[in-house]
Symmetry: C2
Subunit: 333 residues, 2 copies
């Protein structure tokens, strides 16, 4: 686990989109962030107080989190000065960048001298077991998508937030870099060695109270040929009791694969449910989560109604309408 | 690629089963092996001449292949003396052991001094790409199993051998340690990082002549919750034109998973074919390969006939009856 709370480092982010990790932390775990740190020329603002390292330290921050993508895949000298100063002041540093902190000699040296840790969440820090398939107590929900990047993480975070708001027992279980930085822990599943993928998901979602729900962050798609193996490991390692189908209705083709079309929601339902029932025969599809960001309000409502009529399942965009109806469906299981 | 031909090191194998890697090389690529090397007390014999290192060198051997499992997971001192002597004499060493040659300081030093290579086929030596899903020329056949260890490698090797005997264009494409040592190259898929699994399979089975068949070694099972993600990467990265269903009819439960039953051949057919058609809409299931080693000849024949009638597909045990009818079915596509 990464020590919280954080100071969110936005660096010289060219625009708001580049700071989406920081924005995710602020949106979903505001209690994890005491403020933001921006360099001159920063084009992003996640709406937190701009703090110096001293001020952040005084406010209790334990870790400086790199909440921004780096330009050109290089950790620049301008960043380095801040990061090394932060290590000297007793901050850990956490990053989901492709370039690892541990590959930067000056950061490694400064961390060592000051007794601090560098958290590269892009790669595993645990030796995961091979999955044993043993039934675990507690409940698990997994979002499976018609494609990659259709809103599976958002769906899981929104359902988790709604359940906790209602006083239900719920934990979001991250399987990707952004989710891990948001919550402070998880499994970077796409970086796990093949033999241990399903075991890593079992490790992430252990036995729990009978009325506790894990919301497992989905990855990839059973229909995305580049990443379907990762999705399969989630479906089998996660032993989900409930599946949510996630979809983005305006895609012209599968993400990054111009020759591949998205499956229908019916095909996704049938395939994912059959595979999930191998590990958990009681698994049910409980709803559809649609990312309607490219539709108008009227178009979105019409589309959701059409899906709901067709599939006989609640169909919502949790960003527009909240995850309440999906949680209702879970609670009714 | 590992330089061939090999000297097969059987060490102090307690019994024949411990030398199954060496036996596989001798059975499937006898031209790759000039002889065997046994230590005192060796209980295995793959039926090749016992050669000294000098004799093997004179016979042209390039690589000493560790064709035996080590006891207790330790590379013993008795082995070391032979291995270091082999490096001094100009052999490379290849191994599929869990303990890596590269983690043994004395072997690393001896290899370096003598300018030889240590080939640990258990782990990847290539930075594989992320799969792009682009349609490749040539044909590909993949065996998919109701369970792990039901004869998928054997099926692929037997079909490849039969096709080459008929003068057809065919290549066996290994995805596991034994297969890699048999042929001298391949992808150790279970050790590839999740994001690159399907890309590794694409890399392994590149564009080829329109009438060339790759026989891709299967791994795991879509129904084995520990390894299904690896299987899925084969189904999507391999873009198979043909699937062979592999089955062992006497299993009481899925291998290593006492609470899991094998799927029916019909379920496997429907699931695997639907998934394969995502990557290759022309894919067909062409036959069933049954491992009947635990059945009598009469039982085996009755079982195969029953499967054949039920599935409407040729059903054979390639070990008992050869792979001819499976190749006939491929050729008829």
């Amino acid at each position: 686990m990464i020590p919280t709370p954080y100071l969110l480092f936005l660096g010289d982010a060219p625009d708001q989109l580049a700071a989406k990790v920081a924005q995710g932390i602020k949106d979903w775990r505001p209690e994890n962030a005491v403020g933001q740190f921006r360099l001159p020329g920063c084009g992003a603002d996640v709406g937190l107080d701009d703090l110096t390292l001293d001020e952040a330290k005084a406010a209790g921050a334990q870790t400086l989190v790199i909440g921004v993508a780096n330009r050109g895949g290089v950790i620049s000298q301008a960043w380095k000065e801040v990061l090394i100063e932060a290590l000297k002041m007793g901050f850990d540093i956490a990053s989901g960048l492709h370039n690892l902190l541990r590959d930067e000699d000056d950061l490694v040296a400064a961390a060592k001298v000051n007794g601090r840790s560098l958290h590269d969440v892009r790669i595993p820090s645990t030796a995961y077991p091979i999955a044993n398939g043993v039934k675990r107590s507690g409940k698990r929900c997994l979002a499976v998508g018609t494609d990659c990047s259709v809103g599976k993480m958002y769906t899981g975070l929104a359902m988790d937030a709604e359940m906790r708001k209602r006083g239900m027992k719920s934990t979001f279980r991250p399987t990707g870099q952004t989710g891990i930085l948001i919550t402070g822990g998880g499994v970077p599943l796409d970086a796990v060695v093949a033999d241990f993928m399903a075991g890593a998901v079992e490790y992430l979602t252990p036995d729990n109270d009978d009325d506790h729900w894990d919301h497992i962050e989905g990855q990839g798609s059973l229909y995305h040929v580049s990443y379907s193996g990762v999705t399969m490991a989630l479906v089998h390692g996660g032993q989900p009791d409930a599946l949510v189908l996630s979809h983005e209705p305006t895609r012209k083709h599968m993400r990054g694969l111009p020759d591949y079309q998205q499956p229908s929601l019916e095909d996704l339902r049938d395939t994912a449910l059959a595979m999930a029932r191998v590990a958990n025969p009681a698994c049910q599809v409980i709803g559809v989560s649609v990312n309607t960001q490219h539709l108008s309000e009227d178009e979105a409502n019409a589309y959701l109604q059409e899906v709901e009529d067709r599939m006989g399942l609640p169909a919502v965009d949790p960003f527009r309408h909240g995850a309440g109806r999906l949680v209702d469906a879970l609670a009714a299981l």
